[in-house]
C-alpha cells in the first residue's frame, strides 16, 4: 500500500508531510529543505526544473519560468513555457510529482496516494483540476481538503495528545498565504471539528503585497534614477524577487532596502536603492491586512460570536508572520496566536493527519461547509443565492418573493447553483411550479421559498404561498458533486443518517406495496453496509436512499395538502 502523503500545494511554496506513526512530520526535499517553491521552469535544453532550482534561474530565464500556477488551476486556459503551451494542471503536476519523488526517497517506499489541501473558496472546477494534477503526477488524490480545516485538524491532533486537549474549544484559523486568504471559525472537541463559518478571498495574499512593494519601488527608481524597470524583463524579475525578500526581512528587522546594482539608465550605470522602514511597509501592507481583518470580523458576526469567545487563534500561511498581522489581531480583536505553531507548516501537517480520517474514523471527525451557493432565478434573469457558499452544513435559509403580474396563479421556481449574479451563467438544477396562488395584484402575494442542505449534501427546496397555504417542494441530489471529498467514513455516516430519516418519514404514511418493499430492501442493504463494503457501492446506496427520502418527503407534503383541502371544503 505504501504511505499516504499530505501536500500543502501553495501559490508560492509547497510542503509535504506524512504520519510518522502517530505524529505528523514534514518531509524534507532532496535539497534538504522543508519548503519547495511552487515554481516550474524549462531550462535551455528542454530540461524541466522544479522548486528551488527553477526559482534560482528565474532571473536569467523569466520567459520560461512559471510561478503561481495555483491561481490558474481549473481555469481552462493555457500557460506557455519552454516554447510550448501547457495546461495549468500539467505544470502543477510537475510540482506534485517532484514532491512525490522527494517523499519516496525520504521514506524509501512507493507513494501512490495523497491528501491535497486547497483554499476553502476553491470552486469545484479548481478542485477537480487539483485531482487531475495529482493523477498526472501519479498520485491518487484521496481527498481535497480545505486549508483552514487542515490547519485546525493539525491543531486538534496536537491538542488531543496533551492532557487538557479533549476540552471543547472555539478555534479561529487565520490563513494568510502567498496567494489566498481564508478565515475559518470552528468548534473542536477532542479531534472532532465542526466548521461554524468560513470566508476567503482567492485574490488576497502575500504576493499582492509584493506587487505593491514592487510598484512603489519601480516608481521611485524611475523618479530618482530615470530607470524604467518595466522595459526589461530581467530587471523586472530582479526587482520582484528583491521586493519579496524585503517583505520577509521586515518581519524581523526595522528597516530593509530594495536595490538593483549595476543597472543601466540613459547610458549610465546606476545602483538604484530604495530604503524602506517597517513603518512605511506597514502603511503599504495595511489595506491588505485590513481586508483580511474585515473578513475575520464578518466570519465572527456570521457565527454570532464575539472575538472574546475564541479560545485559540491559529495562524497559518507565510504572510501571517508579518508583525502587523499579529499587532492588528491583538489590537482589534484582542486575540493572541497560539504558540508552538509554525504557520508555514501547519497546513501540510494537517493534510498528513487527514490521511488517517478513513483509516481511523473514530479518532477524527470533521463536519464541513457547503462548497457552492444555491439559489433561485428572479425576474430579469438575475440569480438570488439563498444558501451561500461556505455556509456550515446543515444549512437553511428562507426568503419571501412575490408575483410579477396581476392575477398570476402560478409561479415557477428555478433552482440554480453557482456564484454568478446572472442566472444564465449558473448551473440549473431544476424547475418546479407552485400553483394555486392567491389571485391578487402583482407584488401582493407572499411566496416563501426555503432552501435546506442536510448533512448528506441533499438540497431540499420548497415554495409556499403564505396566504393560501399552497405548497410545493423538491429534493435534489447533486449527482455531479465532487466525489473525492467524501471517503468511506463520511459515506457510511451519511448512509446511517439517511436510513434513519427514511424510517422516520415512512412511519404513519400509507404506501403502496411496491414502494414498501423497495424501502425495506434498501434499508436492509444500508444496515448491512459496513467497513467491508466497497466505496462505489456505498455511493450508489447513498444516492438510492436520497432518492427515497425525496419521495417520502413529497408524499408527506401531499398528505398535508390533501388534509388542508379537505378542511377547506368542510
Amino acid at each position: 500500500m505504501g504511505a499516504i502523503i499530505g501536500i500543502d500545494f501553495g501559490t508560492t511554496n509547497s510542503l509535504c508531510a506524512w504520519m510518522d506513526g502517530d505524529r505528523p512530520a514534514l518531509i524534507h526535499n532532496r535539497r534538504g529543505g522543508r519548503i519547495t517553491p511552487s515554481v516550474v521552469a524549462a531550462a535551455a535544453k528542454g530540461e524541466i526544473l522544479v522548486g528551488e532550482s527553477a526559482k534560482n534561474q528565474a532571473l536569467v530565464n523569466p520567459e520560461n519560468t512559471v510561478a503561481g500556477i495555483k491561481r490558474h488551476i481549473g481555469s481552462g486556459g493555457l500557460v506557455s513555457m519552454g516554447g510550448r503551451s501547457w495546461r495549468p494542471e500539467e505544470l502543477a503536476a510537475m510540482i506534485l510529482s517532484s514532491l512525490r519523488l522527494d517523499a519516496e526517497s525520504h521514506l524509501g517506499t512507493d507513494i501512490e496516494r495523497a491528501v491535497i489541501t486547497v483554499p476553502a473558496n476553491f470552486s469545484d472546477r479548481q478542485r477537480r483540476g487539483i485531482v487531475e494534477a495529482g493523477r498526472l503526477a501519479g498520485l491518487e488524490v484521496l481527498r481535497v481538503v480545505n486549508e483552514p480545516t487542515a490547519a485546525a485538524v493539525a491543531r486538534a491532533w496536537a491538542a488531543s495528545a496533551s492532557p487538557s486537549g479533549g476540552e471543547r474549544a472555539l478555534v479561529l484559523v487565520y490563513d494568510f498565504g502567498g496567494g489566498t486568504f481564508d478565515v475559518t471559525l470552528l468548534v473542536q472537541e477532542g479531534t472532532a471539528c465542526e466548521v461554524l463559518a468560513s470566508r476567503g478571498d482567492g485574490r488576497l495574499g502575500g504576493a499582492d503585497i509584493d506587487r505593491e512593494l514592487y510598484r512603489q519601488a519601480s516608481a521611485a527608481f524611475r523618479e530618482e534614477y530615470g530607470l524604467d524597470v518595466e522595459a526589461d524583463r530581467f530587471l523586472a524579475q530582479q526587482l520582484a524577487e528583491a521586493s519579496e525578500l524585503a517583505k520577509m526581512e521586515l518581519s524581523e528587522r526595522e528597516e530593509s532596502a530594495i536595490g538593483i546594482p549595476f543597472a543601466l539608465a540613459g547610458g549610465k550605470v546606476v545602483h538604484p536603492l530604495w530604503t524602506l522602514t517597517r513603518r512605511r511597509f506597514e502603511e503599504l501592507a495595511a489595506p491588505f491586512v485590513e481586508r483580511s481583518l474585515e473578513l475575520t470580523e464578518r466570519v465572527l458576526a456570521e457565527a454570532g460570536l464575539s472575538a472574546s469567545r475564541v479560545d485559540s487563534l491559529v495562524l497559518s500561511g507565510g504572510s501571517s508572520r508579518m508583525p502587523l498581522v499579529r499587532a492588528l489581531l491583538a489590537q482589534r480583536l484582542g486575540l493572541k496566536p497560539q504558540g508552538g505553531v509554525n504557520p508555514e507548516e501547519i497546513v501540510a501537517l494537517g493534510a498528513a493527519v487527514w490521511s488517517l480520517v478513513d483509516a481511523q474514523p473514530d479518532r477524527l471527525r470533521i463536519r464541513d461547509v457547503v462548497s457552492r451557493s444555491y439559489g433561485v432565478e428572479i425576474d430579469g434573469g438575475r440569480f438570488v443565492p439563498l444558501i451561500r457558499k461556505n455556509s456550515p452544513v446543515p444549512a437553511s435559509s428562507r426568503r419571501v418573493f412575490t408575483t410579477v403580474a396581476d392575477d398570476q396563479d402560478a409561479v415557477e421556481i428555478h433552482v440554480l447553483q453557482g456564484e454568478s449574479p446572472e442566472a444564465a451563467e449558473n448551473v440549473s438544477l431544476g424547475r418546479f411550479l407552485l400553483s394555486g396562488l392567491r389571485e391578487a395584484k402583482r407584488g401582493e402575494p407572499r411566496i416563501e421559498v426555503s432552501f435546506g442542505i442536510d448533512e448528506s449534501d441533499m438540497l431540499h427546496v420548497s415554495a409556499a404561498d403564505l396566504d393560501t397555504g399552497a405548497l410545493q417542494e423538491i429534493s435534489i441530489v447533486d449527482l455531479e458533486s465532487s466525489s473525492s471529498a467524501e471517503g468511506p467514513a463520511e459515506l457510511g455516516a451519511a448512509i446511517r443518517l439517511l436510513a434513519g430519516r427514511l424510517a422516520e418519514l415512512r412511519s404513519g404514511l400509507r404506501l403502496e406495496r411496491g414502494l414498501e418493499s423497495e424501502l425495506d430492501e434498501t434499508c436492509a442493504r444500508a444496515a448491512a453496509a459496513g467497513p467491508g463494503t466497497e466505496e462505489p457501492g456505498l455511493r450508489l446506496l447513498k444516492t438510492e436512499l436520497e432518492a427515497l427520502v425525496g419521495e417520502l418527503l413529497a408524499r408527506r407534503a401531499e398528505r398535508r395538502a390533501i388534509a388542508q383541502a379537505d378542511k377547506e371544503r368542510t
Binding site: S428, F432, L434, S435, R513, A547, G550, A554
Partner: protein
Amino acid sequence: MSGDSAPASRGALAVLGLAPEAGEEDIRKAYRRLALRYHPDASGDPETARRFSRIVRAYKVLRARESPRDQPRSALSEKYRPVLEAGDDIFALGRVLASEPQAGARAAAAARLGLSGRSAAYVFLRRALYDPMEEVRLAAVRAAALLGSRQAAGEVAALYARSESAFRRAMLEIAAATGERLFRDTIAVAVKDAEPSLRAVAERLAADSGY
C-alpha cells in the same frame, strides 16, 4: 411510423409506460413486468389493485387492436446497445440518460427506468425532464407516472407550463390514462390553459379525480 394511433390505444400504451410507436414486443414485455409487480396477492393494497386493473384493461385494449399494424418488432430498448447493456441497473440507465447522444436511446432508457419499478430511479429520470428532445421529455413523464413518483409533481407541472400545446396535450393524455396523483399540480395549471380544448380536458380530469 405509427405515431398517429387512435387516442384509446395511445392511452393504453401510456398506462404501460410506452410511446405511441411502441411495437408488439414492447407491449408484451411491459405488460409482463408490470403485471408481475402489481399483481395483488392476499395482502394487496387498494392502490396496487387499482393499478393492476388499469394495466390489464390497457393490455386487453391493445390486444384487441385490429391485427398488429406491422410485423412484431423488436422492443425499442433493444435497438440501442447501451440501453440493452444497462439492463435493469438504474445507475447504468441514468448514465445513458446523461451521456448518450442519440435521443432514441435516451428515451428508451427513460422508459426502462419507468419499468424498473424502483422509486429511486427518479433521481436519474428527473434530468430527462429537461432533455432538449421532446421525445425524451415525454418518455420521462410516462416513466414518472409509471413509478407513481410524487416527487415529480412540481417539476412535471413546470414542464407543462413551459411546453407547446401539442406537448401539453400529450401530457394530459398520459394524466388521463394513468390517473396518477403526480399530475394533480399539472391539472391545476391546465384548468387555466389558454387553449380552450386543453382546458376542457383538464376540467374533466379535475372533476374525475375530485381535486
